[in-house]
């Protein structure tokens, strides 16, 4: 067998017909999206496929799973229905399939008029297949610290995004940082401290993987209009420098601490003993000792869902990623 579109579509129709004869007949199919999932990890693929199926059960979808651990063949083609929620599941082995053929195959199977979401679970964001599939996607979802704790994935993502015209990108590594960014921003809701943003000395993140630290730094610098002078330095327009430092510490995908130092204060956040709390403090003028505060650590499920539902470009994310690209250039 090979990956023949006609055969795949016929198989899907046959499956729908069988379903319509069974309980819950007279089914009308609806779709909210095409969800394309690419995996090449034997270790993680079951987890990935299970998450994708559950996601498409909540959001009626045509789900296409491209499994690069299996030779080019249909693996599983099925129309399913859970009550009134319907889902097409097309699982294909795509090992060895060239990039352009893969995107052409996906394009032929797409349900028109609904968005195409690409969930790329592999680490190779410089993979030609990734680049090709992004050309047919409206939303691209990756996780730069999912399987790779180095800078490589985020660097490649920055490059790919720069060249992509149509898709909006989402990275779970960025999405995990929402609460931390919120805590950092919250320091500067107070006018007195906000003035310190013009007198920064350093920005330091301790984390177990690179992507989170880079995103935080990229976001911070981009939002404040700081220029990238080199890999470890932002500069104000008048040439004053802000040191940027990443300390590798703790588990992947987890932040250990964030420290923002200015002329008059040190703003600190560090992870608490429990996963849902942090300790925040401000040293210096008008500061306060460490206090407990909650931190939201949404599970991957919630992050996926939020990412696939977001349609518009996240300019804050893309700005941060552009700055990361400059830091890593």
């Amino acid at each position: 067998m090979s990956l023949d579109v006609g055969h795949i579509v016929a198989e899907l129709k046959r499956s729908r017909h069988e379903l319509s004869l069974g309980e819950g007949a007279s089914h009308v199919w609806t779709s909210t999206m095409n969800l394309i999932v690419f995996t090449s990890s034997r270790e993680n693929k079951q987890w990935i496929i299970e998450r994708a199926c559950r996601l498409s059960q909540k959001h009626p979808s045509r789900l296409m799973i491209f499994d690069a651990t299996i030779a080019a063949n249909p693996v599983h083609i099925e129309a399913t229905a859970d009550g009134a929620v319907s889902c097409d599941r097309i699982e294909l082995g795509v090992e060895g399939v060239p990039a352009k053929e893969l995107s052409s195959l996906a394009e032929a199977l797409i349900v028109p008029d609904v968005p195409v979401v690409l969930w790329w679970t592999d680490k190779g964001l410089d993979d030609e297949r990734f680049v090709e599939l992004t050309t047919i996607a409206n939303n691209v979802l990756v996780d730069c610290s999912g399987v790779d704790t180095s800078e490589r994935s985020i660097k490649n993502l920055a490059r790919t995004m720069a060249g992509a015209k149509n898709a909006s990108f989402r990275d779970l590594a960025w999405a995990r940082l929402s609460s931390w960014r919120e805590q950092v921003a919250h320091f500067f809701d107070v006018q007195t401290y906000r003035l310190e943003l013009g007198k920064l000395k350093s920005f330091e993140v301790a984390s177990g993987s690179a992507a989170e630290a880079l995103y935080l730094a990229g976001w911070f610098g981009n939002r404040l209009g700081l220029k990238v002078c080199n890999r470890t330095t932002f500069c104000y327009t008048d040439g004053r420098e802000v040191n940027v430092q990443h300390i590798r510490s703790g588990d992947p995908r987890r932040i250990v601490s964030i420290k923002v130092t200015s002329a008059n204060n040190v703003f600190s956040i560090r992870a608490g003993e429990s996963w849902d709390s942090i300790l925040v403090s401000i040293e210096g003028n008008g500061g306060y000792p460490e206090r407990v505060a909650p931190i939201l650590s949404p599970d991957n499920t919630s992050l996926f869902e939020h990412a696939i539902l977001a349609r518009e470009t996240d300019e804050t994310f893309e700005g941060a990623l552009r700055t990361v690209g400059e830091l890593l250039a």
Partner: protein, 522 residues
């Protein structure tokens, strides 16, 4: 790459925090004190304090806040904290209270033991709130939540004024008040309550809760109507034959017999929740998403609802009371056998009313509303039935060509369904109805916060969109008063007149049959 504004400029310009841009944050930024009157009551334990804790857990609460429980109960601060921890353990959707967040949260809870009519006590409350301003940084902002029996609302408002806790005396921050439903038990009592409240609070400071409005699916109605262009041209009397709004429950009164026997289905559900659904379906598109723009349209459509003449009440309404029956396979007693219900009670557990709206959009289109306890199925929905085809071109002789129906499902399932006619494949021109059902699945990913978390958070933010304004409350009471008056004065000898687990009383079916309609099956 860099933004053009120099950071010094960006950070001090008009108090804007540049780091907030693009942050999808629901954080409430105003520090405040929240005082819960009736803090030892059931609502506080089951809903309100768990909601506050969950807002804290989700980091939505402002950095500085204080919570004060106010009640006659014999507690001190520690006793209150202990009781609230038990409440969270039992009723919070996030599970038992977790340290260190719970301990930090609990440190902001305090209790004021008080009689509700003791002004000296309210002065102690004032001192406590001022201490919180100093120690907790609550900045003079105050939110008062009235979760006491409604008979105490006016007294509490008066005491707030007398003790200097009213908004006129607050020069440091804002003062708001949340009032639980029911807002009055009839039109006169509602007006009397409003008169008392408005002596102390401006309308913009008053937040009348209808927790139905905080439910996600109810907000979906606005999305369906105003995020799709295709429905609007059809959304009027020319194409819509009738609208049926149903809020059906399978439960009975359970342990609320004491309250319910003085209320009934008309007051408990129709006057507030169901009429609110009517406004969402029938209103004109608002000019903006602001609270007042939306509430203006709701009031406008309510003002156009035709008053019911007293001698027309029996034609346009129906009431019922459940007798013994079977629900989901289990035998249940009748209403009059429930705890705290009078054995000869005339209270209705089922109410149905027909309204007409006299405006260009809806003239002649009936809006049927029903709500009841111990009915066949739990369902809340709005069914828009379109007119039948004007001329039949297709279909074999025996085919029934049913009108199109668009159903907005609120609970237990959320979604939309559309019934339309399609040709059955084959040589003959058989036409059949098909239901195109769209439901989001459940149990995966983002969960909507319960209504109270949304509503209390909105009140703290000063967003009144999901709260009811006085003019709409008054208009709703005016519309139901003729029905309420007749029902109260006439004993219904047929009670109980529907079996628990059934579709409701036959008089309700007769009401629609007179107009040539029938109820959708519950």
């Amino acid at each position: 790459m860099a933004d053009t504004a120099a950071p010094e400029k960006a950070s001090s310009q008009n108090g804007v925090n540049p780091l907030r841009t693009g942050l999808d944050s629901t954080r409430i930024t105003d520090s405040c004190n929240i005082v819960f009157f009736g803090a030892t009551g059931d609502l506080m334990k089951r809903m309100l304090l768990p909601a506050m804790y969950n807002l804290r857990l989700e980091d939505t609460m402002p950095k500085n806040f204080g919570i004060v429980g106010f009640s006659r109960g014999d507690w001190d601060d520690d006793g209150f904290r202990g009781a609230m921890k038990d409440a969270v353990n039992q009723f919070s959707r996030s599970g038992p209270a977790k340290d260190p967040i719970w301990s930090e949260f609990a440190s902001r809870l305090s209790f004021q033991q008080c009689e509700f009519d003791d002004v000296e006590c309210y002065k102690k409350l004032k001192a406590r709130l001022e201490a919180n301003d100093r120690d907790l940084g609550t900045a003079g902002n105050r939110l008062f939540y009235l979760s006491t029996p409604p008979s105490l609302f006016a007294k509490i408002v008066d005491m707030l004024d007398q003790s200097g806790l009213g908004p006129k005396n607050n020069t440091k921050g804002w003062t708001r008040i949340i009032v639980e439903k029911p807002f009055g038990t009839d039109l006169d009592s509602a007006r009397a309550l409003q008169a008392e409240i408005s002596k102390v609070f401006d309308e913009k400071q008053v937040y009348r809760i209808d927790h139905y409005l905080g439910k996600e699916p109810v907000q979906d109605i606005m999305a369906l109507r105003f995020a799709n262009v295709m429905f609007e041209p059809l959304w009027n009397r020319r194409y819509i034959d009738c609208v049926q709004i149903t809020a059906a429950e399978t439960v009975g009164v359970e342990l609320r017999g004491g309250y319910y026997d003085n209320a009934g289905a008309l007051r408990d559900m129709i006057q507030n929740h169901v009429i609110n659904l009517l406004t969402l379906v029938a209103m004109e598109p608002p000019v903006s998403p602001s609270a007042d723009a939306i509430r203006d349209e709701k009031f406008k459509v309510l003002s156009a609802v035709r008053p019911i003449a007293m001698d027309d009440v029996w034609n346009v309404s129906a009431r019922g009371q459940y007798g013994p029956g079977t629900i989901e396979g289990k035998a249940v007693p009748g209403y009059r056998q429930e705890p705290d219900v009078r054995p000869d009670s005339n209270t209705e557990t089922y109410a149905a009313v027909r309204f007409l709206i006299d405006n260009w959009r809806w003239a002649g289109t009936p809006f049927y509303m029903r709500s009841g306890k111990h009915l066949a199925r739990k369902t809340s929905e709005i069914a828009v039935r379109f007119k039948p085809i004007p001329h039949r071109l297709f279909g074999e002789a025996g085919d029934q060509i049913e009108p199109n129906v668009l159903v907005m499902k609120i609970q237990p399932e959320e979604g939309v369904s559309l019934r339309f006619a399609a040709k059955v494949p084959g040589a003959k021109m058989h036409i059949r109805s098909v239901s195109m059902d769209f439901n989001y699945g459940t149990g995966f990913g983002v969960v909507s916060p319960p209504a109270y978390e949304r509503l209390i958070g909105d009140a703290m933010r000063g967003d009144a969109t999901l709260f009811t304004r006085w003019d709409a409350v008054e208009a709703a009471w005016e519309r139901v008063m003729p029905v309420l008056t007749r029902w109260q004065s006439d004993i219904d000898p047929s009670f109980p007149n529907y079996a628990a687990g059934s579709q409701g009383p036959s008089s309700s079916d007769e009401m629609l049959a007179r107009d040539g309609f029938s109820w959708r099956r519950i």
